[in-house]
């Protein structure tokens, strides 16, 4: 690979070098990088806890941890991964970087609030880390009552406060995106010329704004019940524990779409760029993001089929759960149709997109199993559920996150990474992921419950396979860290548009200047006008 000299143009990275210039920046691109570093730290922390879980489950006996310690380990894994990595990963890093660039704006509508959102996120993270260092929390990432309010003697309040605070970060980012997309689009950038990543970011922001306050209040009520013994959830105080589940899942089910909708937006961009085609059924894909965001709010009760939730409510929630599969399927079918007769190139970002398609398909279809009232009773709280949501949230979100990170890395840094290593890592992650989580479907179907540190010997082979897969997956995640960091110094200079992609972000320099564009662009074409582009270059 050619190692060219560093870009000499002034850009958002080299415009200033002091720590103050980074910590007080109002540039959405710099804030995106601050988020990238922060969420990566939490990804590593969450990954470390995952490693401990898989080590414990290598053998049937509980030979690494006491049961209580194991409870803390899987709780901290879930809290770190869900609230501090998966939810902010794509919106706060790629979204922050790309939304203004993609719509031809100089920045987000409220740059100071954008910076505030990062500080709020860090503050929430520090509270949670303090809880980890102080001894951890053992309630599960769901903080279910009455255990969390009446029984647990771990750091429930401290962790809950961390989650509560970081929620405001999501809200701030969400409303910044909504205002920006409404008000700051470049001339000619109509709603139906918006890249699908922007549509997805818009839909995600709606969920973040409408749902996050509810879980925040639920967590505050848990804290109040623990400290002041007011009776909200604890039956002995006149409360109702199922009410907590309603409040928690009102946000936390849509939160899955906070994780996966931006991932779907990334996939739309990747598939268009690497098939050289317009996304099939653009409007359907755009509206399906909004449909997922809205219908996603009507399905939370499918987490509660085995609680005392009424059978009637269960019936309604089950029906609505099947309904949300429709817009998800619209996306998958339309991406597949886009591939048809496309000029497909198998570069690393596209390999991640293919990985997403396969893993999200399995995750989505097994979701239908769990949405069924009868079958869910059999597999509820088993490893089947664990496998299902990892296929969606890890197989879906992280594959897209990594695909997007690779695709826009040249724009973010001005450098190209090593394509060979990138393809190798993508393949390794796909293999490692399936080896980790597919055996868990089988374990769950055979009845292995989640959240136990011991199990009967007949389940060891599948657990060993899962742990072996997790090791491959861990190495697979580590490799990009190395070559991406390496590329910062030694990577080939990328140029403005290394993929020959459409989209305003590729029309400005790499890395962009602080104001994104030397002059405000005027948009005259729909998104993904690859057919026009081919003609122009023909």
């Amino acid at each position: 690979m050619d190692t060219a000299t560093a870009p000499t143009q002034t850009n958002y990275i080299n415009v200033a070098h002091t720590a103050k210039s980074w910590l007080l920046t109002r540039d959405h691109k710099r804030i995106a990088l601050l988020y990238l570093i922060s969420v990566s730290v939490f990804f590593m922390i969450g990954g470390l806890f995952a490693l401990l879980i898989r080590l414990e489950l290598l053998t049937p006996a509980g030979d690494l941890f006491e049961a209580e310690t194991y409870n803390k380990v899987f709780t901290m894994h879930g809290v770190a991964m869900v609230f501090f990595f998966l939810i902010p990963a794509i919106p706060a890093t790629l979204g922050n970087f790309l939304v203004p660039l993609m719509i031809g704006a100089k920045d987000l509508a409220f740059p100071r609030i954008n910076l505030l959102s990062w500080y709020v996120y860090v503050l929430g993270g520090l509270f949670t880390l303090a809880a980890v260092i102080g001894g951890g929390v053992d309630t599960g990432w769901t903080f279910y009552t009455p255990y969390s309010t009446a029984a647990s003697n771990t750091h429930v309040i401290l962790t809950g406060l961390g989650v509560f605070i970081s929620g405001f970060s999501s809200i701030l980012t969400g409303f910044n995106f909504i205002v920006t997309i409404h008000k700051m689009r470049a001339p000619g950038m109509t709603w139906f010329r918006l890249p699908l990543f922007v549509w997805a970011s818009y839909a995600t922001s709606l969920i973040a704004i409408l749902g996050t306050p509810v879980v925040a209040i639920a967590i505050v009520l848990v804290a109040l019940e623990r400290t002041l013994h007011i009776g909200v959830f604890d039956p002995t105080l006149g409360g109702d524990p199922v009410l907590y589940q309603h409040l928690f899942w009102f946000y936390s089910h849509p939160a899955v779409y906070v994780m996966v909708l931006p991932a779907m937006g990334v996939i739309s961009e990747l598939i268009a760029a690497f098939t050289r085609k317009e996304i099939f059924g653009y409007k359907f894909v755009a509206f399906s993001s909004l449909a997922i965001a809205v219908i996603g709010f009507f399905v939370w009760g499918h987490h509660m089929y085995v609680s005392s939730q009424s059978a009637f409510a269960g019936l309604v929630f089950s029906f609505l759960t099947y309904l949300v599969a429709v817009p998800s399927a619209v996306k998958v079918f339309n991406w597949t149709a886009t591939l048809y007769r496309g000029s497909i190139s198998y570069q690393a970002p596209m390999l991640y997109a293919f990985g997403f398609l396969g893993l999200f398909l399995i995750g989505g279809l097994t979701g239908l199993f769990l949405g069924a009232l009868g079958l869910d009773v059999h597999v509820h709280d088993t490893y089947f559920v664990v496998a299902h949501f990892h296929y969606v949230m890890v197989g879906g979100t992280i594959m897209a996150y990594l695909g997007g990170l690779h695709y826009w890395w040249p724009k973010m840094t001005g450098r190209l990474y090593n394509e060979g290593w990138a393809k190798f890592a993508a393949l390794m992650i796909f293999v490692g992921f399936n080896l980790t989580f597919f055996p868990q479907f089988l374990l769950g179907y055979m009845g292995m419950p989640r959240r136990y540190h011991m199990y009967p010997e007949e389940w060891q082979v599948l657990n060993v396979l899962s742990t072996a897969g997790a090791t491959i997956l861990g190495v697979g995640y580590f490799i990009p860290t190395i070559y991406l960091l390496w590329s910062l110094k030694k990577g080939e200079v990328a140029g403005d548009n290394p993929w020959g992609a459409t989209g305003l972000e590729w029309q400005t320099q790499s890395p962009p200047v602080t104001e994104n564009f030397p002059v405000t662009p005027v948009v005259t074409e729909p998104a993904y006008a690859y057919a026009h582009q081919e003609k122009r270059f023909a």
Binding site: L210, L243, L247, G301, S308, S310, F312, V316
Partner: protein, 99 residues
């Protein structure tokens, strides 16, 4: 946000209306209306909140996007309440033991 500024008289009138409604909130607690207690109390509260949102928060004079945003938020609040109540009020409806 619209740059329309309401007259001082209107603000005073809204303030007085809120004071009257607050007095009513207290007054109705002394009257037992059976099942209607909740609905009357909530009715007064919703009226007060509506006045605040429309006039003190200037939504009445705002453009359509702001109004849609406010209504959307309320719709999602209704979803939260309605589907939660669908559980509590629906218990026993299908004759499943304990459910």
């Amino acid at each position: 946000m619209s740059d329309h500024v309401a007259s001082r008289g209107l603000y005073v009138a809204i303030f007085l209306a809120l004071m009257v409604l607050t007095a009513m909130t207290v007054a109705v607690t002394y009257i037992d209306m059976g099942n209607a207690n909740l609905f009357v109390a909530m009715g007064i509260a919703v009226t007060k909140a509506t006045l605040v949102v429309l006039f003190f928060m200037h939504v009445f004079w705002s453009d359509r996007l702001i109004k849609v945003t406010v209504v959307t938020s309320l719709v999602f609040l209704v979803i939260l309440f309605a589907f939660t109540l669908n559980d509590y009020l629906g218990r026993g409806a299908l004759g499943v033991a304990g459910r």
